[in-house]
Symmetry: C2
Subunit: 199 residues, 2 copies
């Protein structure tokens, strides 16, 4: 798929040099195609950016949301899996995240709406699991909306600072974040079912 | 101070239109000065951006770090104050945060180092309070470095979604985040001194 190859190379260039410093001609050169072949697939740089962002977000939602909605499993199990998938996915497809790039300013209003739609789907699925966990008594949170944002911000923050190789492996980070997130959701100060200290 | 006025207007333009879409001439026009007066203070747009960013960060460090280092108060009290100051400062000076702008790509290497230096000073002060709290038994965390990053990411995340007026006031958000952050730091699963449920 030439479109896929263009997106991969463009993503790498945006990630290395920044979106603003990359021209559509740079992308064509990196792929090894002519500008006219390039324009056959994408009419401008913004379209390439949007294709990368929406492809990433659509895959991310597909990887996380069905598990979050799987009511055969407990909210705790689903949150634990969600933390793992979120962090693993963000790391494995790091270039597509385009950290530091002015994606918000570069996309047009309709493209931004599509992106926000994917974010909302994921956000809502996480929120629902937290709500379910509160209903079953597994979780105790003061404010479901605020706690959902705190959890998502914590998980999204990792991409900004985690680098391999480092002091910790990705799996070690995942283990620590599973406990941190559950620590936010199981706030014994707010009451809830008593548990053993090992609970 | 004309330099200060230039920084304020430039910050507003960067925030509204994006850094890339704002020219130095736009800034001069917004302030109501000629380009040559403008160039007397800043030789290019990058310098204006750096002045805004470093001024903000220097003030932020001044507002937070002395309190974090005040050993006459408990780690819990210092964290609680730090959450308040962090969130209040970020909200009151929101335009200077330039959310969504490609600051990393726009600054040169030396300017980036200065910015990272401020971030590091704040990070280290937060980390030390968490370490002290673990030493006194007030906090129990599995991994001080990872928990520090989680706390900072949670607090930095708020600027991306909090808007006034909304369901919650800034003070309500602050109250919730004080509890969420202390929830991360007081992880009863990891042991520590027993407390009453109201502790």
């Amino acid at each position: 798929m030439l479109a896929g190859e263009i997106m991969t190379k463009a993503g790498e260039l945006f990630y290395e040099r920044g979106y603003g410093a990359t021209s559509i001609r740079d992308i064509a050169e990196a792929v090894g195609i002519s500008s006219s072949t390039m324009y056959h697939h994408f009419t401008n740089k913004q379209e390439v950016l949007f294709a990368i962002v929406s492809n990433f977000m659509s895959d991310f939602v597909e990887a996380t949301v069905p598990g979050l909605r799987d009511r055969t499993r407990t909210p705790t199990e689903r949150i634990r899996d969600c933390v793992r998938t979120h962090l693993r996915f963000s790391e494995e497809r790091r270039p597509e995240l385009l950290v530091g790039n002015p994606i918000r300013y570069a996309l047009n209003a309709e493209q931004q709406r599509t992106g926000i739609g994917f974010q909302q789907t994921y956000h809502d699925a996480v929120r629902e699991v937290i709500e379910e966990g509160c209903a079953t008594g597994e979780f105790q949170v003061e404010d479901i909306d605020v706690t959902t944002m705190a959890v998502l911000d914590m998980l999204n923050g990792v991409r900004e600072w985690f680098r391999r190789p480092g002091r910790l492996t990705l799996d070690e980070i995942i283990g620590r974040y599973q406990k941190l997130v559950l620590g936010l959701l199981v706030n014994r100060r707010l009451g809830g079912r008593p548990r053993s200290p090992a609970g």
